[in-house]
């Protein structure tokens, strides 16, 4: 179990890091591990890194990825991502041993996890929750859902944690229970002291509805398009009870009650 220091914010710049492991974990899904004493030394669950594109490319913006695994001893940090567009496609072609610029750790992550918490992951939303479970080491239950089996791609080596009970669910029943995260939740939510979720907007919306007023405190890791990643440009706004807030600085983790999903 790692000790976490959630109060500190580190003010790092992008640094060039060696890719020590590159793994295509499934078609369209890739895991990259970087050597980064800076990120590995300071990150806590729910935080993210910005990965920069090569200079000669026409893509200007760095891409945000949750920290998926962290190894303080080896000073390594891993991300797990889905190939969605041009940037992630390029990243999936990175070769082991090459150098990529990354900046981090960034953002305000998850609060401390009480024993017996419920983690809810939709598809690639698994990434920050694995870090959370691994770092805290307390017994907890993970609902890991997706549309179909080919989207439940988290490598077993990363997912097999002694403290983690895993319930898989797919909409087409191709793996685990058949149904959606919302089908499993009602039975589990009432006993949990806290809930931590990451996944598609519709899933988060459903989770929020199910938690309602009487449910446990819930924490969501949100996504929005980013430019600076450090809170300067106001590009990554999400609508909250208190107005627009920045995913990159005020989040990416917000309390469920705070964020709106009406769109």
């Amino acid at each position: 179990m790692l000790s976490l220091s959630r109060s500190e914010t580190s003010y790092n710049k992008p640094e060039s890091c060696r890719v020590t492991i590159k793994q295509i974990v499934a078609p369209n899904y890739c895991r990259l591990t970087f050597k980064s004493p800076v990120v590995a030394g300071a990150a806590y669950p729910g935080q993210f890194v910005m990965v920069y594109m090569p200079r000669e490319h026409k893509y200007l913006l760095p891409r945000p990825f949750s920290i998926f695994r962290l190894n303080r001893v080896r000073e390594e940090v891993s991300i797990l991502f889905e190939v969605k567009g041009k940037g992630t496609e390029l990243l999936a072609h990175t070769k082991r041993g090459s150098q990529l610029r990354i900046m981090g750790p960034l953002g305000t992550g998850f609060p401390a996890l009480p024993e017996g918490s419920l983690l809810v992951a939709g598809g690639i939303g698994i990434a920050p929750l694995v870090f959370l479970a691994a770092a805290e080491g307390k017994p907890c239950t993970l609902i890991y859902g997706a549309r179909t089996a080919s989207q439940l791609i988290c490598p077993p080596d990363d997912l097999t944690l002694p403290n983690l009970t895993i319930l898989e669910v797919t909409e087409d029943g191709s793996k685990g229970a058949k149904g959606s995260v919302s089908d499993l939740l009602p039975g589990l939510v009432s006993g949990a002291p806290a809930l931590f979720a990451c996944g598609p907007r519709q899933m988060l919306r459903a989770v929020k509805a199910l938690c309602g007023h009487s449910g446990p405190p819930a924490w969501f890791s949100m996504e929005e398009r980013m430019a600076c990643g450090i809170g300067a440009c106001l590009g990554c706004a999400v609508q909250t009870k208190t107005g627009y807030r920045r995913v990159c600085r005020d989040g990416p983790v917000f309390s469920a009650g705070e964020v709106f999903f009406d769109d």
Partner: protein, 312 residues
């Protein structure tokens, strides 16, 4: 070897470096200034401030395009009062020079903001944003019409004795007409350019990608457009220019100076490289040394016919 002089005077503001942070991308500065060494920056121009708080536009507010960025932040800002109470104290001692970008829904709001900032300690100049294409009811009207430009700049001018820059919009048929109107109304300098109006569509949802439909294009994509407008404006007015639009390197910055800019500002480049200001300043120094030019001011306008612009 000579040690070139990088200082310039931008409409009354003495700058130790001709490299500035443009209004917006750099926010209010603290997030970046905690990470980078600000000694390369002559000044930072903070994000637009209005009299009352502005909420900004609905997300998504950003979209990436080829060598460019579309944004529709919508001039979100906490308003003058919070700016004075919360932002200014945090900036104390942090920024080299501070220029405040001001916005308004009408002439009254512009004037109100200018008047209140005039008395505030620690502000070295104002930049009037008459050009932001993001805000539906906002600046767009002023910056595309010479008479409106004259009116708003005059109103601001009456409220302040601070050095006054006016930031021009590129979404016009002839930027020199607007530039002259701003000069006549009492501007001490002109900033150009703001973003070009643009949009993208998500072909899967079949809807505009930005929550606000339209946004402003910044980044290297628009550099040649910005450079031409600086060139033309330099020929049309007698006040100094702050050039910007897609600058990411010293070579880019030098082009703007040779076209007629006294200083340059960096915006989108910070997203790719927080330390870009150091790199640009270092590159400027290197160019001057290599070419044995003793002061950055000597580059001003030298690419235009007639050589060195009238040095003021």
């Amino acid at each position: 070897m000579i040690k070139p002089d990088l200082t310039v005077n931008l409409g009354g503001i003495e700058l130790a470096s001709p490299v500035l942070a443009a209004s917006g991308p750099f926010g209010y500065g603290y997030e970046y200034l905690k990470r980078i060494d600000c000694s390369a920056l002559g000044a930072i121009i903070v994000k637009g401030v209005s009299a009352r708080p502005w909420a900004g536009n609905p997300p998504p507010r950003l979209a990436e395009t080829a060598s460019g960025l579309l944004n529709s932040i919508g001039l979100q800002n906490p308003g003058l009062e919070q700016f004075e109470k919360e932002v200014m104290p945090r900036l104390k001692g942090m920024a080299p020079r501070l220029i405040v970008n001001i916005v308004g829904c009408d002439i009254g709001e512009y004037a109100e903001v200018a008047g209140r900032l005039d008395g505030m300690e620690g502000i070295d100049g104002l930049e009037v944003n008459i050009s932001c294409p993001n805000l539906r009811a906002g600046g767009i009207a002023f910056g595309t019409d010479p008479a409106e430009t004259f009116n708003v700049v005059s109103a601001v001018r009456r409220q302040t004795s601070l050095p006054l820059l006016v930031k021009l919009s590129p979404n016009v048929s002839d930027i020199t007409v607007i530039a002259r109107a701003a000069e006549e109304a009492g501007a001490d300098g002109l900033s150009l350019i703001n973003t070009l109006s643009g949009m993208l569509i998500d072909i899967e949802t079949k809807k505009p990608l930005l929550g606000n439909t339209f946004g402003g294009l910044s980044g290297p994509a628009l550099l040649p457009v910005a450079l031409k407008m600086v060139w033309q404006t330099a020929e049309a007015v007698n006040i100094p220019l702050l050039g910007m639009g897609g600058i990411t390197s010293a070579e880019d910055a030098i082009q703007f100076m040779m076209a007629g800019a006294r200083a340059v500002a960096l915006g989108t480049a910070f997203f790719y490289e927080p330390e870009v200001a150091e790199q640009v300043a270092e590159g400027l120094r290197g160019y001057l040394e290599k070419h044995e030019i003793d002061a950055i001011g000597k580059l001003e306008g030298i690419a235009r016919k007639g050589g060195p612009a009238d040095a003021r």
